[in-house]
Amino acid sequence: MIINNAETILSVQELNASIDDTQILNGFDITVKAGEIHAIMGPNGSGKSTLAYSIAGHPKYSVTGGSVTLDGVDVLEMSVDERAKAGLFLAMQYPVEVPGVSVSNFLRTAATALRGEAPKVRTWVGEVKEAMSKLSIDPAFSERSVNEGFSGGEKKRHEILQMELLKPKIAILDETDSGLDIDALRIVANGVNKLKSKDNAVLVITHYQRLLDYIVPDFVHVLIDGKIVKSGTKELAYELEEKGYDWIKEELV
């Protein structure tokens, strides 16, 4: 939802980022205000994941120029966990398996870190159960190791579960639709939509328009060769779905 005079939550200016000395992002700009949903679409290799990981601070990606602020505060100066504490959440395309760390322990440790105190056991159990049931996650999940042996759909629902419990100001969904069947897609999208309010914002990174039928964006941006080359409304997503990316590349030339 677009709100007049809304506060800017995430501002990325002239961002350059590289992996293994190969520059991927070339002057990427975006401004996301409270209440808004932005979609970033782009072909393979355009820099979608680099964008997500650079903002979240993955050590394999190095930011070589530009700025990223969250609520006006410099994010690039923060450690990975400080970014999360500032309200940034990245739902990953390939959530990492952490054998031996149970989901329940992981969720509670994360909630404790973000809230500054351990959630009360009594209310916490209810909170987790409710969030799990909304996402059709079997409660027995809590005892499993984080992401270990999870199906693609389970991993993505687990990401959204964390988002639900950690309540970020800005959620970046990196190819959350990949590997999901239509039912799982609906469940995941519902989870995101329920979380959405006038005080937070969502950045959806995707290859396909499909997810945007469920998480309806206010703005759609096209990412090619590490920068946004075209912006529009949700109709742009349909156009991309129909015609692919080549016509935009041709327009650029």
Partner: protein
Amino acid sequence: MSLKSKLVSSYLAFDDHLDDNSPIHDIRKKAIDTFEEKGFPTKKEEDWKYTSLNAIINKDYSIASKGDKKIKYEKVREYFLHDIDSYKVVFIDGVFSSFLSETSHDGLDVCLLSSVLSKEKYKAIIEAYYNKIASKDSITSLNTAFAKEGAYINIPNNKEVDKPIEIINFSTGNETALMMQPRNLIIVGENAHVQIIERHQSLSNNAVFTNSVTEIFAEKRAYLDFYKIQNDKENASLIDNTFIHQEQDTNCNVHTFSLGGKITRNNLNFSQNGEHSDSTLKGVTILKDKQHVDHNTLVNHISPNCESHQDYKGLYADSSTGVFNGKVIVEKQAQKINAFQQNNNILIDDNATVNAKPQLEIFADDVKCSHGCTIGQFDEDALFYLRSRGIGLKEAQALLMYAFANTVLETVKIPELKRRINNLIAEKIGVNIGFDI
């Protein structure tokens, strides 16, 4: 005078006090000859390549303690499994403490080796079992020469022991440097079931050198869980020599938690002498400063259709050093063997070192053997994932370290012990992990 000379010359005086007719008199004499000939092992020997005893044996040890020290239970309560009932065989500076012990002759023997060595009625036991499987190498022979006290545990056939047995060796620091050589003999009868916890605990910062030997016999269908807790003070060193003889259909599991001490060497030897035997050797090692632990394991598959499982995890901080030397022998007639060996290490600091040496000697042709060994740092992606949820670096590392050690911890079958070790590990890692893991 070197420790070796001191030991050899004091043997003469020691021998004078012994009964010449004792069944083990000859065993002792042979043993001291072996030690005199070979001396303490040095790094020139392949099996001791990565562990030097120099820092231990250059001290002037008392080799017999006055043993008149009393300890108040409250002061050492934390070293016992105090929240559940257990049998206890407790030694203070190598001398039996009846006050702290809870022995039994009621339906099983949980008592002292000294009485077994001296009483006529145990003669047959000594002849059948004593020093039968202990190695004849120099360090074990040294123990054999001087051994006179330790735990004697004999579980009769079909007996399921109702509570764990704790063997605890305290040293008080009464002497500035004390050498102790406890000797345990454990017989688990047919179809019997027992859980044993062993601990060496120094109560001062004075030097302690323990050279311990334990012989364990598992008769047909016997089940044994043995837990070794090694979390000693900074000047306490331990050479633990444990020999396990398994008959048919037995299941023997040894968990070794090496979390402290100065130099610790674990010589853990399994020999499978009957079909359908299962041996499990697991260990968690968490070291810091200049601590050193050397796990030297040997599994000898003599009979067919048996299994062995080894899982050793190590976390090394500061300048600590670790060794894993795991040997598996599969003899020619031992077909259909499954032998697995896993040794994974994380070096937390740049100065930490691990030497890992898996050795498989396979003479049978129809066997399944695998070994894997890794030495690495933290998984960068897993760390990132945890931190991206707000978990700080130290706590994220702690979670990963805990998870890493957990494959060993999860098979500890005494819940109270598991909780204690859990807390110990959390303390070693340096964070309050807090809740239900």
